[in-house]
Amino acid sequence: MSTKPPKDHFNILYFASAGSYTSKNVEALPAPLPLRKLFDTLEERYKGIRASVLDHSLVTINLTYVDMPEDSAEVDEAEEVVIQEGDEVAIIPPVSSG
């Protein structure tokens, strides 16, 4: 079983270069967090991670792919994806070597 995040937190997993950049495989971040704020939140913690890692990575919530909303897009509150307490988010950069 995976480690459960503390109360009012979600787990975020960092794969491949995301793991090298943050020097960790997993950590807990405060929830709830709107998905469109995720990259800003990570950029605050790890300066430069957006351009080096996040912009070309794919993101999953609870093992399922999610589209990252555009920053500028109008937000319809009913459709806003929000990362909830206890969720598991993953940052997956492409790996190219073989």
Binding site: M1, S2, T3, L13, F15, A16, S17, G19, S20, Y21, S23, N25, V26, Y46, K47, G48, A51, S52, V53, D55, H56, L58, T60, L63, T64, Y65, D67, A90, I92, P93, P94, V95, S96, S97, G98
Partner: protein, 467 residues
């Protein structure tokens, strides 16, 4: 479940070839896999009639090819322009010490013939290019992407979309591996109505990583079992797809649909050298189906084989392959030979050498007196200082700027020489140190050693253990 009722499977095994008796040779050889529920004689015949193209005869391609050949896939093509090197052998298990220097395709086919002489092996002893990709891929039913760079990955995916070929894609570097089945079953480019349809590589990974973040197996290293596991898994998927005809459009509307092929799983393997397998070692993540906005397979796609041949899209440019990173002016660079000569003559009284390679590289040796400051950690410390403030000197190990190498002793370092593996990171490190103000108003010189330890070995110390 009977053969004929299996989802998407043909009723008599004839959808990708004719049904026939198996030869005695085939019967013996494939008996152990044919008795596996779901395989049977018809599954085996579909493998025998199947044609698989393996692009890349390296760490993924070798293990993948072994199992595909062993399973009796009838036609196996292999694309690779490289030759076997000793540093390949810890992971590229289809080659051999005795075949160092041989073309990888020839070496691998030699090995595969020893394993199973029945398949037809086709050598394509050159790299895949936008000019030759469509002609090669057109001759096969299914493609395995076992390559090592993003430009070729996008090229392969685009051509597979246009030629309606399923693609089993894997990748691996250092301690991670990824595997995904794409474009399976294939559907025509641009088709969105009546979906969902299976995605292509661009649906999943829209943008290539910036070149500065790209690491090759040569630089970052690779553990043999990690890439081997992904290659074997590729073979497993390829055999499954061919034996069960999952790559063909379903005969009944409900058939392949219930297998969720249009939302493939991305399998991720994370290998920790210093920890037992844990909850995150294997992760299976559900991807999205074909994206209507995908520039390759989506509704408005203008991609064409003619275009690709003529250089549109430009894969090298898309992946910025040849963009040189940060070239410093000559005044801030010195060749290893110049540095060495100046130091021998005692002209560098108060200097320090920073070696920005990873700890593992540094552990094999460096320039005498060099201090190891791994590039990644340097950038992170620099970012922290720039964000939170704090002592600029803190980005370097304690005492580095007060210690002195060479003659003179005294108060502090007047020159910093930065060296890395091949001379790219070191230039960025020089810029970063200057940006932080470590030149101290021109009182200190910060210089790049051109070409890194590779050039040091070539110009100064031929015996240096360069990796």
């Amino acid at each position: 479940m009977g053969e004929g009722t299996r989802a998407g499977a043909p009723t008599n095994g004839t959808r990708n070839g004719h049904s026939r008796r198996l030869d005695d040779d085939e019967f013996d050889r494939y008996s152990r896999q044919m008795v596996v529920p779901g395989m049977g004689k018809e599954g085996q015949l579909r493998l025998i009639n199947g044609r698989v193209l393996i692009i890349g005869a390296g760490g993924l391609g070798c293990p993948a090819a072994q199992y595909i050949a062993g399973a009796g896939v009838g036609t196996i093509g292999i694309v690779d322009g490289d030759v076997v090197e000793a540093s390949n052998l810890h992971r590229q298990v289809g080659h051999a010490t005795s075949r160092i220097g041989m073309l990888k395709v020839d070496s691998l086919i030699t090995h595969l013939r020893g394993l199973n002489h029945l398949p037809t092996y086709i050598a394509h002893p050159f790299p895949l290019t936008p000019q030759n990709a469509a002609d090669i891929i057109a001759g096969y039913d299914l493609v395995l992407d076992c390559t090592d760079n993003p430009a070729t990955r996008y090229l392969i995916s685009d051509v597979c979309v246009l030629l309606c070929k399923p693609l089993v894609s894997a990748a691996s570097v250092q301690k991670s591996g990824q595997l995904i089945v794409l474009n399976c079953p294939p559907s025509p480019q641009g088709l969105v109505d009546g979906g969902p349809y299976a995605p292509c590589y661009r649906c999943c990974f829209r943008k290539p990583p910036p070149p500065s973040s790209l690491v090759s197996c040569g630089e970052a290293g690779i553990m043999g079992p990690v890439v081997g596991m992904m290659g074997v898994a590729q073979a497993g998927e390829a055999i499954k797809i061919l034996a069960s005809a999952l790559h063909l459009p379903p005969t009944e509307p409900s058939a392949n649909q219930n297998q969720n092929l249009h939302q493939p799983t991305l399998l991720i393997y994370t290998y920790d050298l210093d920890a037992a397998p844990g909850p995150y070692t294997f992760r299976a993540l559900k991807m999205s189906s074909r994206k209507p906005s995908c520039p390759s397979c989506g509704a408005g796609s203008t991609l064409s084989l003619e275009g690709i041949r003529a250089g549109d899209p430009n894969y090298e440019q898309f992946c910025a392959v040849n963009t040189p990173r940060c070239v410093l002016p000559l005044s801030e660079r010195v060749t290893p030979a110049e540095f060495h000569a100046a130091r021998e003559r005692g002209e560098l009284p108060r200097h320090v050498v920073l070696d920005t390679r990873e700890r593992e590289h540094f552990s094999f040796g460096s320039i005498e007196g060099a201090v190891n400051v791994p590039f990644g950690r340097l950038l992170m410390k620099a970012a922290a200082v720039q964000r939170d403030g704090g002592e600029v000197r803190g980005v370097l190990p304690e005492g580095v700027l007060t210690q002195t190498a060479g003659e003179g002793g005294g108060e502090g370092v007047e020159q910093i020489f930065v060296v890395c593996r091949r001379g790219l990171d070191s230039q960025e490190a020089v810029e970063k140190l200057k940006e932080l103000g470590l030149e101290e108003g021109g009182r200190r010189r910060i210089v790049d050693i051109k070409g890194g330890m590779k050039a040091w070995k070539e110009e100064v110390d031929p015996g240096f253990p360069y990796i």
